[in-house]
């Protein structure tokens, strides 16, 4: 009779039961399924952006302002007069996203958003290093890398807040856009806002698991799999930023 108890462990077939056919825990599989659904949400937002963008004429090539040149206070008005910022025409990103903190009055196209991209990539690296340290049960290292990840996420959110403030003071909102079509500003705020909300919730999750790591919750549990699950979410947020960056700033 006792033979029956060993039935499940003896089963060599993948789908024979008694073990995970995908060699993955339930929680991690569900995180992947959630990320798939979130990928659909983000792609519908980006496809909506692509749709609206295709219904407008492309921007004029900029031959007026060179990088590092002086940026006057009436830059937006000058661009409107020069026909760069008109309602029928999608604006050129280099003329819209050209400010940098503490370097006021210099035309620095896309420099700030590049910095934001580097910050997010770097926080993704520290996250995966925390996962790697978790595999070795190195509590101190996990703590160190989690802290860097939280700092990176917070820095990214700070950068985004600065950029939003800058655009809002120039008059951009969901109903108004000094740079051209209203849909440009509306879509920018909706998509970067939705991504920013993801970063914010990621930072909150990171803080929660950081506290758990410090308290030794995962040490007691015997594995650091929670770091992997939240890590998957965090890398997904980085992944979405790659496409937000490509579509809003480069194309």
């Amino acid at each position: 009779m006792s033979n029956t108890a060993t039935l499940s462990t003896d089963n060599k077939q993948t789908w024979g039961g008694g073990k995970s056919p995908l060699s993955i825990s339930y929680g991690k599989l569900m995180m992947w399924v959630f990320l798939l659904s979130d990928a659909f949400t983000f792609s519908s937002l980006l496809v909506a952006y692509g749709f609206v963008r295709f219904t407008f004429t492309t921007s004029l090539p900029n031959a007026i302002v060179k990088p590092f040149s002086h940026l006057s206070h009436t830059f937006t008005e000058e661009m409107q007069k020069a026909g760069m910022f008109v309602v029928e025409r999608w604006p050129s990103p280099e003329l819209v996203f050209n400010h940098f903190p503490f370097l006021h009055g210099i035309h620095l196209p896309l420099m700030f958003v590049s910095l934001m991209t580097f910050i997010l990539i770097f926080s993704s690296v520290t996250m995966v290093l925390a996962v790697e340290a978790g595999h070795r049960m190195a509590k101190k290292e996990v703590e160190k890398y989690m802290l860097w990840t939280i700092l990176g996420g917070a820095a990214f959110l700070g950068c985004q807040a600065w950029e939003w403030t800058n655009l809002i003071t120039e008059g951009a909102s969901l109903q108004n856009n000094p740079f051209g079509p209203t849909a440009f500003a509306a879509l920018f705020f909706i998509v970067t806002g939705f991504h920013g909300t993801h970063v914010l919730s990621g930072v909150i999750l990171n803080i929660i698991i950081y506290i758990n790591v410090v308290n030794g919750t995962y040490e007691k549990r015997g594995h650091y799999e929670m770091i992997e699950k939240v890590g998957l979410y965090w890398h997904f947020v980085d992944l979405v930023w790659v496409f937000v960056f490509t579509f809003f700033y480069l194309i």
Partner: protein
């Protein structure tokens, strides 16, 4: 008291740390290439320029998913469960951009 869970998971390779840093450098270089190409091709409005940027984005996405998200080391079946449904997104892109072309043609300005 000593309740320790044993999880089923796929193992990471021994040189994981090296792979992580290599991926970081790849992502860094690709982002710099992105920005350099943006300024080099500023006056071009070719559809191939857009395809090039989307392609570079997909390369970055491949590296993030395969190494950072550990997909390279997971079972192939799991990878197909997650990646194959993405084909629906390609269908949506095709639908939306075709429709957008007609909308553009019927603009009154």
């Amino acid at each position: 008291m000593d309740h320790i869970e044993h999880l089923e998971h796929t193992e990471s390779p021994a040189n994981m740390k090296k792979q992580i840093w290599n991926t970081f450098y790849v992502l860094l270089v690709l982002t710099v290439v992105d920005i350099a190409l943006y300024f080099a091709l500023l006056s071009s409005h070719s559809i191939y320029k857009n395809i090039l940027f989307v392609f570079l984005g997909l390369v970055k996405a491949f590296y993030i998913v395969s190494v950072f998200m550990h997909m390279k080391f997971e079972r192939k079946f799991l990878a197909s469960i997650i990646i194959l449904p993405m084909l629906f997104i390609c269908f949506l892109i095709w639908l939306a951009l075709t429709e957008a072309g007609y909308t553009f043609d019927s603009r009154l300005f």
